[in-house]
Symmetry: none
């Protein structure tokens, strides 16, 4: 399942993201509404987790305009305990459920799992990039129709590219995908994994941008 997490608090965001990943779902995490709007237009999600207090605007308005534009993706609101009126307003605005902060991660899992069960059987969106077919939900990749197996780290890295195709990703951004907490890394691990990905997926899939980082090539040439 594809989940969009909209949450500006870094600590909470990381925890939620990791938990949902452990449950086997693909997570995009954005920290502001402006990014959320771009993501929603670019991708189709199965679930949106929406914090209401955000730096650049009100979550309600985002939710309302989402619904107004015909998007019926399930939305679970993340809100603080005392804001009762928020919860009511949220449900009225078209949310499917809400979670009261601070919430238990297993409770989060339960709700997300319930949505996932509801969507079971629906076809997953396949991302096609050149000769690759990527199913982010099922963690499957085909290269020229042949299934390709990636290891955990390889997948973690590659998923980052697929979620932002064509975007330049810096080394530190990639490190954050491999290791939980900005763990310092002194060796050339990134390079090694890029190398392994290229070996499995094809030489031209990932382009290196000298002194800057890497990006996913989005078209066949």
């Amino acid at each position: 399942m594809r989940v969009l997490l909209i949450e500006d608090t870094t600590g909470l965001g990381e925890a939620v993201r990791d938990q949902i990943r452990d449950d086997g779902h693909a997570v995009d995490w954005v920290q502001s509404l402006s990014f959320a709007e771009v993501s929603v237009k670019a991708t189709s999600y199965n679930l949106i987790l929406l914090d209401l207090m955000l730096p650049d605007g009100n979550g309600f308005d985002f939710l309302k305009s989402l619904r107004k534009s015909g998007n019926s993706t399930p939305v679970i609101i993340l809100t603080a305990r005392d804001q009762v009126s928020d919860r009511i307003e949220g449900l009225n605005a078209g949310a499917d459920d809400y979670l009261i902060k601070p919430f238990d991660l297993s409770e989060l899992s339960a709700r997300v799992g319930a949505v996932a069960r509801r969507y079971r059987g629906d076809p997953n969106p396949l991302v096609k990039i050149g000769h690759l077919e990527i199913d982010l939900c099922e963690h499957r990749i085909r290269a020229n129709g042949q299934a390709v197996e990636l290891t955990a780290r390889e997948w973690a890295l590659f998923e980052g590219f697929v979620q932002r195709p064509g975007t330049l990703l810096s080394r530190s951004q990639l490190e954050d995908r491999l290791y939980q907490f900005g763990a310092e890394i002194e060796s050339n691990t990134i390079e090694v994994y890029i190398s392994r990905l290229r070996k499995k997926l094809g030489r031209d899939v990932i382009i290196t941008v000298r002194n800057m980082g890497y990006r996913l090539e989005t078209y066949e040439h």
Copy 2:
């Protein structure tokens, strides 16, 4: 599709029954848990609609014991809006979805239809994967024509794979199939059951993806 409706309120029960009948499904309507238990043992349903407030007991306990006995029929809980904790507990106990009373009959139809679609997906209830023939309704498996007996736990696990063939299932997803949500597991139970399934069904049926989980192999080697 066969639906079991467990609801003691007469008016609501009639309305729901009629609606689902109109949608073309066969409905059994019982008004207490004691009757429900008999029905569940006598018949195999595709869906159970479960009210939580019943005269002769708690809906949760019914649901839990149902799951424990290896029955994985989809369950939709009918509950009142203000009983938030009920909903959480219901999902944790193994419900697939919930409907908040008072609910719109068309919403009921939609949810029931979603479950129906899942089961109609394969007009033939027999799923064939490699040398295996799996009857999801009857809980029966044949390997090379030979019947194979699975225990309740083994089936619970294997069913998860069959419902999403080829999909990578994480450990926590598999644990959720074996136990109620949140039940922390410290030992290698999953591995043991995978091992047993492989022994009974064939070595190559389930492949392990290290550090990530397992997946059902969908083609014959």
